[in-house]
């Protein structure tokens, strides 16, 4: 990177940038491009798109503010950062909505053109914050982004109104200069993306260059910064969101099982991108069915599973409510089925675009009758890939519906993912039934759909098409073995026990607890699940590194059943902290299952934990001082 005389380039190890503007300002795109450029430079990064539920809330209002936070670093990072170092605010509402999370001393780059009386009023400002000294704790750069953009676009023959829309590229150019990101890849990207609208492409390119040049020439910034490449394991990487990783995991799982993939789904935030991604991948033989409702989505997936396909349905909380009855059917049918729940804030419609982990107890208990099923949870965006394969493995091997939990943060957040070798992916064996498995009293052979494998307790899977294996199954209780309808009380109790034992037995088929306790004698244990992985690990690491405290960490991928040795491990610790983005659901499960005196750390604000919150909770539990 060039260092001019006026502008020395400083080395920094990491930075958190937050782009904020109106929903229509293209902030998600801006953040995404900044992320891509950082990936090319070899930085480690984590992203956190944060957008409103309304597609287009009134322009300029607080409700319409959309933000994208990206954390780039020269070392391994786990979260989108505690707090931004830089906020780019495209209008007063964006400033006002985000100022609360900006630490004192951080940098604000604001689009000065947008701070007119009308916009200030819309954002709820009585006084202009740029002039009333209320921002004196921050380093504020006022940049006339709109007017410069309009100026440079004029020569390209773009009308001022249209040019105004390119101002996000000006901001991107300026921040690119500030953090020494090359803009050429983005220019290439613009050319391709706007090939059909060359004038728009030209305006965007001009705005981008103008932003970059502004940084270089305006005597505003003292220096710019360089974040060196992070150390990565050798390999090939892509930047991937949780929803894409999950979709690819489903494709890979179906392939590794040799089963056609069928997705029955109804559009719902924040899960729809899985449907979108799979709909694009028809060359893998993927069938995507956009159903008339959530129930039809899971119903069709059950029908596909009956026919010998990998049946999958994807949804979020409200959809999971609607699917409960059908999931109960699949438990009774003992057919493989995958239910993906990308959790969001609830109850009811709740916070559609905000993250939460509050469906765990629903996944665990949200059906009538005794209806256990395995639960797998992804912990990072890229881990959604492996989690999808693991959930499929369990579903197919144990002939059971499996709930795979993701959440809004994982779904839209992105991180670098080292591409796996296809040859290393696990093989899943469907083991279809091929011949009769029972001899009748008269010596004739028959196929009994509920004869169980003695080891796994799984029943055979016999999709239609094989002569001699014709059979009927259904939601009524079945006689153990023959599968005929049975109302016998003792048989029912036996079947309840068998279904429960089958799911519980999966504990023998999953890894033991991955305990992170370097000394083996930690003062306390922090245990979590799902998307809190990065924040918890970062908090624990800081306790160790900065405060010299000995803290152990467990992060669960399997929530039902738990790893076989979990209870024994929990018993070793007097102090157990369970941070969750809910009111204490894993916490409840651990206490109920293992009678441990664990403490819940709850957060339900629609945003992920920040490492500092974990750190503080640990400190409090350990008794304060270092």
């Amino acid at each position: 990177m060039s260092t001019t005389e006026d502008h020395p380039t400083e080395q920094i190890d990491q930075v958190v940038v937050r782009f904020a503007g109106d929903s229509g300002d293209g902030m998600q795109l801006t953040g995404d491009r900044f992320t891509s450029m950082s990936a090319v430079l070899g930085n480690d990064m984590a992203t956190f798109p944060d957008f409103p539920a309304e597609i287009r809330a009134p322009a300029g209002t607080m409700a319409g503010v959309s933000a994208f936070q990206v954390h780039i670093s020269d070392h391994d990072i786990l979260t989108p950062g505690d707090a931004p170092n830089v906020l780019v605010a495209m209008n007063p509402a964006a400033l006002r909505a985000n100022l609360g999370i900006m630490p004192k001393g951080s940098t604000l780059i604001v689009n000065a053109d947008a701070f007119d009386d009308r916009s200030l009023t819309k954002a709820g400002y009585q006084e202009n914050p740029l002039t009333d000294h209320s921002l004196s704790a921050f380093t504020v750069y006022e940049v006339p982004m709109t007017s410069i953009t309009q100026e440079v676009c004029k020569e390209a023959g773009v009308k001022p109104r249209d040019a105004e829309r390119s101002k996000n590229f000006f901001a991107l150019g300026l921040v690119s200069w500030l953090y020494t990101r090359p803009i050429d890849p983005t220019i290439e990207w613009i050319t391709k993306r706007f090939a059909d609208h060359p004038q728009v492409g030209e305006a965007n390119t001009r705005a981008l260059r103008a932003g970059y040049d502004f940084g270089e020439t305006a005597e505003l910034f003292e220096s710019n910064y360089e974040v060196r490449p992070a150390h990565f394991e050798p390999g090939e990487y892509v930047n991937i969101t949780g929803n894409t990783a999950l979709a690819w995991g489903l494709i890979a799982a179906a392939r590794q099982a040799g089963l056609p993939l069928f997705l029955g789904s109804y559009p719902i935030t924040p899960a729809s991108d899985i449907l979108h991604e799979l709909s694009r991948r028809k060359e893998f033989g993927v069938r995507t069915f956009q159903a008339e409702d959530e129930i039809a989505g899971v119903g069709a997936a059950i029908g596909a599973a009956f026919g010998g396909a990998l049946g999958v349905t994807t949804t979020s909380g409200p959809g999971l409510d609607l699917k409960s009855e059908a999931i109960g059917l699949a438990i009774n049918l003992e057919l493989p089925l995958l239910i993906v729940d990308v959790q969001r804030g609830g109850p009811s419609t709740g916070l559609p675009t905000k993250t939460e982990q509050a469906d765990l107890l629903q996944a665990m208990y949200g059906r009538h009758g005794e209806a256990p099923l395995p639960i797998v949870a992804a912990k990072t965006p890229s881990h959604c890939f492996a989690a999808a394969i693991e959930a499929t493995r369990l579903a197919v091997k144990y002939r059971t519906p499996v709930i795979l939990l993701s959440d809004g943060y994982l779904a839209n957040g992105a991180e670098p993912w080292r591409l796996p070798e296809v040859a290393d992916l696990p093989v899943i064996e469907p083991n279809f039934a091929t011949e009769p498995n029972h001899t009748e009293a008269d010596g004739s052979s028959a196929y009994w759909p509920y004869v169980r494998d003695p080891e796994t307790l799984a029943r055979p899977w016999a999709p239609p098409g094989v002569p001699g294996l014709e059979h009927r199954i259904g939601g009524l209780e079945k006689a153990d073995g023959s599968g005929n309808v049975s109302y016998d009380g003792l048989n029912h109790e036996q079947m309840v026990h068998l279904r429960a034992a089958k799911v519980a037995g999966i504990a023998r088929d999953i890894p033991l607890t991955a305990l992170d306790d370097p000394s083996g004698a930690a003062e306390m244990l922090v245990i979590g699940w799902g998307s809190t992985y990065g924040a918890i690990l970062a908090g624990v690491k800081r306790m160790r590194a900065r405060r010299g405290r000995d803290v152990a960490h467990i992060h669960l991928t399997h929530l039902n059943p738990f790893p076989a040795d979990l209870g024994e491990i929990l018993a070793r610790y007097d102090k157990i902290l369970v941070p969750e983005l809910n009111g204490g659901q894993l916490w409840r499960m651990l206490r109920a299952e293992f009678l441990v005196d664990a403490t819940a750390l709850s957060k339900m604000q629609g945003t992920p934990f920040r490492p500092v919150e974990i750190e503080e909770a640990i400190l409090e539990m350990l008794g304060g001082t270092t």
């Binding site: 090939e236 392939r255 059950i302």
Partner: protein
Amino acid sequence: MTTTAVPVTTRKDWSSDQEVRWCPGCGDYSILAAVQMLLPDLGVRRESTVFLSGIGCAARFPYYMNTYGLHSIHGRAPAIATGLATTRPDLDVWVVTGDGDALSIGGNHLIHALRRNVRITILMFNNQIYGLTKGQYSPTSEVAKVTKSTPFGSVDAPFNPVSLALGAEATFVARTHDMDRAHMQETFRRAHEHDGAAFVEVYQNCNVFNDGAFAEITGKEVRSDMLIPLHHGEPIRFGAESQRGVVQRSDGRLEIVDVAEVGEGALLVHDEQRADPGLAFALSRLANGPHQPTPIGVFRSVERSEYGEEMERQITVAQDRRGVGDLATLFRSGSSWTVD
């Protein structure tokens, strides 16, 4: 898929070993018999035949068929069948349902399966009552019906299932009744032949909770005067001497007339293949409940691309264009970078 000849079968081969448990005298018995006796004639295989159902008396049907079968949950059979039929185009998928199952709790799935034209054959037994839950009124019960849940008479207007199916863009819509095996079998055979979603309403007597609901039109003695058989390409007429018929008035209205009065040439000629469903719809409105002369047979049978085939076609096109999917290529479909 096997290429050997379809084995010769009889009704017995298609009957499971399960004891049939409908109430004695229930119309379901004759429908079951009609289906079990028809299947040996259809040139189909037991292992490639699936009966799917939801909940209700009719929904027990799959247990009595020696085929693959799935007795699912209330109203959802068309959705489940959609997943099965689209992933297994080699199978014959039958959905057996009732008026409560298909039109009340499962109404949404029914209309969408019909509009998508998924290759499934839907037999809807209409007895105008809830049987399994012991006698509440159903979405096809007539207004003022007195049942356990409507002691003062029901106040909601019923569905006309044939009208509903036509309105849902169904490509095959027919009606038959449980008192006429030959007519049932001919109708089921046509439905089975149809390439797409076929909907058959079967008037079925529930002798326990709604006995005689269709007696005014299906009874042996009254049948010829009260049922109007539809035959493609033929003038629509009925009566013991075929003395009555249907004409279309200049304002589009259909009317029942004496053939002698209008002359044979004035009768409406039935055309089940008309692209516009308007006439079929008008025919479905000819009777306002099973007390007036009622058309039976195939109302509509038109060709439209089948849902599963279209899904399959998109896959084939994608594979022709991009080659069969390869995971390593998929992983690199965005921009990747290498760390040495």
